[in-house]
């Protein structure tokens, strides 16, 4: 049950993160057809998660889940599929009204819903994924703050 917790593999590679995200931003910037503000904001958000997952690599359940969602989103928009399906909720700030008949989910279940790809994990694996996910989320937020800082100079 005790796994080797290699802290080295957990620390996000910042230049790699920056590379993927900035490359995506440069592409987004070139596309002048993306006129609406909401569209571009959503695209940037998806680019942020995608570059985070790419930098993390395919060994983590959360990075695989995020990449699947981004690819699903991209392909469904490309082919004109209706996008009213569950994976969309990840990228949209939708407020779900809790059904009072359902029992209150345990805190571990709430965590399982927040971390992508963690639906059926046991507690110790869930915590490992959470740790990794938080590390990358934090690094991504710092990167984006840096970019905003340097662009607004």
């Amino acid at each position: 049950m005790n796994r080797k917790n290699s802290n080295k593999s957990r620390n996000p590679n910042k230049p790699t993160l920056a590379f993927y995200f900035l490359r995506a931003l440069a592409c987004i910037n070139k596309k002048t057809s993306m006129a609406s503000y909401n569209q571009r904001s959503g695209t940037i958000k998806r680019a942020a998660y995608a570059s985070m997952a790419l930098a993390a690599g395919p060994k983590r359940a959360w990075s695989r889940a995020v990449l699947c969602r981004v690819l699903w989103w991209g392909s469904s928009r490309l082919h004109g599929f209706p996008t009213r399906r569950r994976p969309r909720a990840f990228f949209h700030r939708r407020v779900r009204v809790a059904d009072p008949k359902l029992r209150e989910p345990s805190k571990a279940d709430v965590l399982r819903r927040l971390v992508p790809g963690a639906k059926a994990m046991d507690l110790s694996r869930l915590l490992e994924e959470t740790a990794h996910y938080i590390q990358y989320l934090r690094a991504q937020v710092l990167l984006m703050q840096n970019v905003v800082g340097s662009v607004s100079d």
Binding site: M1, K14, P15, L17, A18, F19, L22, L25, A26, I28, N29, Y37, R40, S41, G42, I44, K45, A48, Y49, R93, K107, A108, V110, L111, L114, V115, D122, L123, S124, L127, T130, A131, Y133, I134, L137, R138, Q140, V141, L143, M144, Q145, N146, V147, V148, S150, V151, S152
Partner: protein, 85 residues
């Protein structure tokens, strides 16, 4: 897998609690050293939600900035950010 989870030893619980505490930044850690696992889980969930909100807000701001940026500055901004990180 379910049989493993039903018999978690005290040692494992302590290990999980310390793992959870290590995930949170200093400002969000509970002041008492013996924080309950439940409280830590709750704090972890709220931390993840706040990080995701940050990504949302920063995406909005970047979208604003990209709109007002001219075509030459992306290269400079890329180089500057890469040098900084």
């Amino acid at each position: 897998m379910s049989s493993r989870e039903s018999r978690i030893s005290d040692e494992e619980i302590n290990e999980l609690i310390s793992k959870l505490q290590a995930l949170l930044p200093e400002s969000r850690r509970p002041s008492t050293s013996r924080a309950s696992a439940s409280k830590l889980l709750k704090e972890t969930c709220s931390y993840i939600k706040s990080l995701r909100r940050e990504v949302d807000d920063l995406s909005d701001r970047l979208s604003d900035l990209l709109a007002t940026m001219d075509s030459n500055s992306p290269q400079a901004e890329i180089i500057r950010s890469l040098l900084r990180s």
